[in-house]
Amino acid sequence: MSATAPRLAPLWRITPVTTSLALASRVVARNLRVYRRGWMYLLSGFVEPFLYLLSVGVGLGHLVGGLQVGGRAVTYAQFVAPGLLAAQAMNGAIFDTTYNLFYKLKYAHTYEAVLATPVGTNEVALGEIGWALARGTTYGAAFLGVMAGLGLVLSPWGVLCLPVVALVSFAFAATGMAVTSFMRSWQDVDSVALALLPLFLFSGTFYPLGVYPSAVAWLVRVTPLYQGVDVLRAFSTGTPSWSVCWHLAYLLALAGLALAITSRRLRRLLAP
């Protein structure tokens, strides 16, 4: 029996997945309990993208006319809707893991007590990301339903939009959490909104990349929201190609990387 220092913790500590997920689900349940009273707030999240869709339908659509996607002629509303769907998934997911998370980390010290229970930092990360993912996906599903009702989903491939929305939510929730773990002040947090704006506007959401000079187009091709926009557009217009696989792999890799960083950072912040 010798006095040895505990070995360095591995990046992702191996624990039985069932208990870890069960505990993470309790973190999700906590958030659900908070928002039970804030349903108005949740509801207003559904309305925003419909307004965008409406303004495209009655306004911008007439200015722009029709476009081509994968060799298929589509109306401008059919072109923009999947872009808005991706942006919706991104916004829905990232708000929870930036503003709300920063508040809990720096002001409420919520996790100080949580980590004294069997819940560990990895379960906190999984739970918060899971909640953001659930929220982003719920918004996405509602939006997708409206798209279908308005004739903006042109193919049965459109069904696949739902899992893709979940993946986009997951990737941005994890990324948001990883970035937030490095933030020091509310000003840092506010800069998130500033960073999201160009992603929202430039990721091929409102017009095809062909509009850009080729250098800019390539820059856009490596940004995360573009992956989601392109896949969702391919599915909703029924024009998928093999490039979809690249986009999905990109999003998975981003989510995995962000999760690993989050796991490490949270342990350093909360259990030093």
Binding site: Y41, E48, L51, G59, L60, V64, S191, F206
Partner: protein
């Protein structure tokens, strides 16, 4: 060497200031400006990034599709390229955001969080002074943001006339017209739960349907009447008159609308501020 008594020099300055009769609201403005001075860099960065991103994405990017579809001087867009059409719309929208933002979190924070209203009231300042001070600070922020916006828009070639400088006072008016009524509401609140609803249910629809991105003539009859009633529609019309150099007598209607709204908001705010802070 006592901590409780200020040094004689500081006291003299204070007395001298009082004798010279510095308006009290000016001191309230100073207290805001003092904090602004610590964070102005990030604020200015946002003032700069916002027009660059919007003009590049909507004016240039989307504009190229519009110009291809309608031609570069469509009559429905006032005979100018889409970039020149949309620029004043985005300017009005961003000034609205500045007014609304300043009227929500900072107002509630001045009561609940950093309590700067309360510390101002602990001095000789009265409720009316601190409201005026906040209005003056907002006017200053609107001027800074609009100056940066116009510089960026100029670089994009989006301004059609030197009359664009008139957008500076117009922006102040637009910001005040949004700030005053919303501040009158915010000051009565206990928490920020209503603010995101204002953002999503009021600000976003205004931005999308008040003629910023497309002429409201395209809206169905009912929506068009609704749009004409909104303050942002008048703000967009005014900013557009400035940047296109088409200011006319008819624009006085828009100005009158916004002045009346700002005045009513201001009166309401005086009342709710008084009730919350000195009641």
């Amino acid at each position: 060497m006592s901590i409780a008594t200020p040094t004689p020099g500081a006291l003299d300055l204070e007395v001298a200031a009082g004798r010279r009769g510095t308006p009290l609201w000016w001191r309230a403005l100073n207290s805001w400006a003092f904090r602004w001075a610590r964070t102005w860099r990030s604020g200015l960065a946002a003032n700069f990034v916002y027009p660059v991103v919007y003009l590049a994405a909507m004016g240039v990017g989307l504009g190229s599709l519009v110009n291809r579809h309608l031609g570069a001087s469509a009559a429905s867009l006032g005979g100018v390229p889409y970039l020149a059409f949309v620029t004043p719309g985005i300017l009005a929208g961003s000034v609205m955001q500045i007014g609304v933002h300043e009227a929500t979190y900072p107002v509630l924070g001045a009561i609940r969080w950093d309590r700067s209203y309360l510390s101002q009231l602990a001095s000789p300042l009265r409720v009316g002074d601190l409201l005026l001070g906040h209005l003056a600070f907002l006017a200053f922020k609107a001027l800074v943001a609009t100056s940066v916006f116009l510089a960026v828009a100029g670089a994009f070639g989006a301004l059609e006339s030197p009359e664009a400088v008139l957008a500076l006072p117009i922006s102040v008016l637009v910001a005040l017209a949004f700030f005053a009524p919303i501040a009158a509401y915010s000051v009565t609140r206990e928490n920020d739960s209503g603010f995101s609803t204002i953002q999503r249910m009021v600000i976003v629809p205004l931005f999308l349907f008040s003629g910023s991105f497309f002429p409201i003539a395209q809206l169905p009859e009912g929506l068009r009447v609704l749009a004409v009633c909104t303050p942002l529609y008048h703000g967009v019309a005014l900013e557009r008159a400035c940047t296109l150099g088409r200011f006319g007598l008819g624009d006085l209607v828009h100005i009158a609308y916004l002045v009346v709204l700002a005045f009513i908001g201001w009166m309401a705010a005086r009342r709710t501020y008084q009730r919350r802070l000195a009641g």
